[in-house]
Symmetry: C2
């Protein structure tokens, strides 16, 4: 199934979780804010690119089908921000309101909404699987475990009190350097891990590995340790932390229900440019 | 005095501290590493752009006089990485070895050294002064106070255990929002503060505001609180934390002894592009 076909199915509300669809294509997290808050959120992404890696931004405030890539990739086309994610979350004044299958009824042109597409861990997970290091949840079918960490999100404008969400995948200690190498090139998809090993729990402020804040606990095999990556759920918590400093509605994707873009995983490789 | 004239004086070792020289021109922090460590340090900067904002990178490993800008500004010219900073620090295996006025004798062509120019707080300090909010050390003549914080530097390659260094300037609580606004556009020069207020000390792991790890204590006036920015000394501590994972010599500028570039402070404004 092509990326465009999956977007058409999302548009028709015929699919939900996009994990594994259109393999090799980038999937994107979403945040949509009223124009007056867009610069603050843009700064938040630029100051915290590991948890909030920008893939693209609405070309004009209010545009629904034109995204300017933040990375050195082709402009996105043939999609509609309001319909092409299988499910959306709606927030008012930073508080979760409801989940919808599209935004057609709640999209207010006067708000000149600005959409941000943010990199997704599916990209480096595909690379890990291809390298013979598949994430555990590929075989268990569980949702990856996610935790609120104490890593501060460096403040930007109205976003002053958030911390990073991290996702966790178990690996053997002897595989960690390889896991780091394989995920490292995908800077626009959270890149390499932010912490690993059992002593990382204290540094990240995680009380119980068996009690993730989002997703499901992971199955550890003999001798495995937790490896933590920054997570694309972070922007949603940043919105919640801003609370009623946010005027009007904010929209995000429903976790796991991503935009399948025409961009390829390879497009992210070497995006650091410069020396590579 | 022009930026080029100040570089010529540095080249001739006729000046030391560059604070206040060639007003309006960007001054740059420096780190130079052997080629095999350059990608890891490049990733460290891209993953931690608030404390390590990249201004430019050697166009080719080994080049001494050609820098490719990381930002949307003109290529640098008429300078020599080995001589145009007033003073340099030399590290071996991550340990400080000596301070030199140039690198001509220690520059080993076989190491194919790669230089990184990193944004400097002088840029937003000029903007704060122009806005009627001059940093206290402008009037006291002291060196700004810098502290090792507990904010983790997100790991990249061999750089796995460092934390951010923060600089501190006292301001009145009622001025903080304006201070944030004025420094916010200078993303390539640390941007807006990372924390502020007396309760920030605990969050940053700073035991005693009167005992900075670098620089000098600042004078607080009645009712003022500390405001903390990420600091360009961070890369040097990252090098120290990497220890003997670093093969060969690493060079940095001596704090306060910067490269005065031809780039202007205005060149940094709106560099976030996109919506501005």
């Amino acid at each position: 199934m092509s990326a465009y076909e999956t977007r058409l199915l999302s548009r028709a509300n015929k699919i939900t979780n996009t994990a594994g669809l259109a393999p090799g294509h980038l999937q994107a997290n979403l945040l949509i804010l009223p124009a007056q808050h867009a610069n603050d959120f843009h700064d938040l992404c630029l100051r915290n690119p590991v948890s909030c890696p920008l893939l693209g931004i609405s070309t004009q405030p209010g545009s629904t089908d034109s995204i300017t890539p933040a990375q050195c990739i082709q402009p996105a086309s043939d999609f509609d921000l309001r319909t092409d994610f299988p499910k959306y979350r709606v927030y008012r004044n930073g508080k979760y309101l409801e989940t919808r299958t599209d935004l057609l009824d709640v999209w207010d042109a006067h708000q000149r909404y600005v959409g941000f597409l943010i990199g997704c861990s599916f990209s480096f997970e595909d690379a890990l699987a291809a390298a013979g290091l598949p994430p555990r949840h590929y075989s268990t079918g569980r949702i990856v475990a996610m935790y609120r960490s104490t890593i501060p999100l460096l403040p930007a404008g109205i976003f002053t009190n958030a911390t990073c969400v991290v996702s966790m995948r178990p690996y053997k200690p002897e595989d960690i350097e390889r896991v780091r190498e394989v995920s490292r090139p995908y800077l626009a998809a959270h890149g390499e891990p932010v912490a690993w090993g059992w002593d990382a729990l204290e540094r990240l402020g995680i009380a119980d590995i068996e009690k993730p804040d989002f997703g499901q606990p992971q199955v550890f095999e003999e001798g495995e340790v937790p490896v933590f990556w920054a997570c694309g759920v972070t922007p949603q918590l940043a919105v919640e932390s801003a609370g009623d400093k946010i005027e009007g509605l904010v929209f995000s994707h429903e976790p796991g229900h991503m935009l399948v873009t025409d961009w390829k995983t390879e497009d992210l490789e070497g995006l650091r440019g410069g020396l590579r």
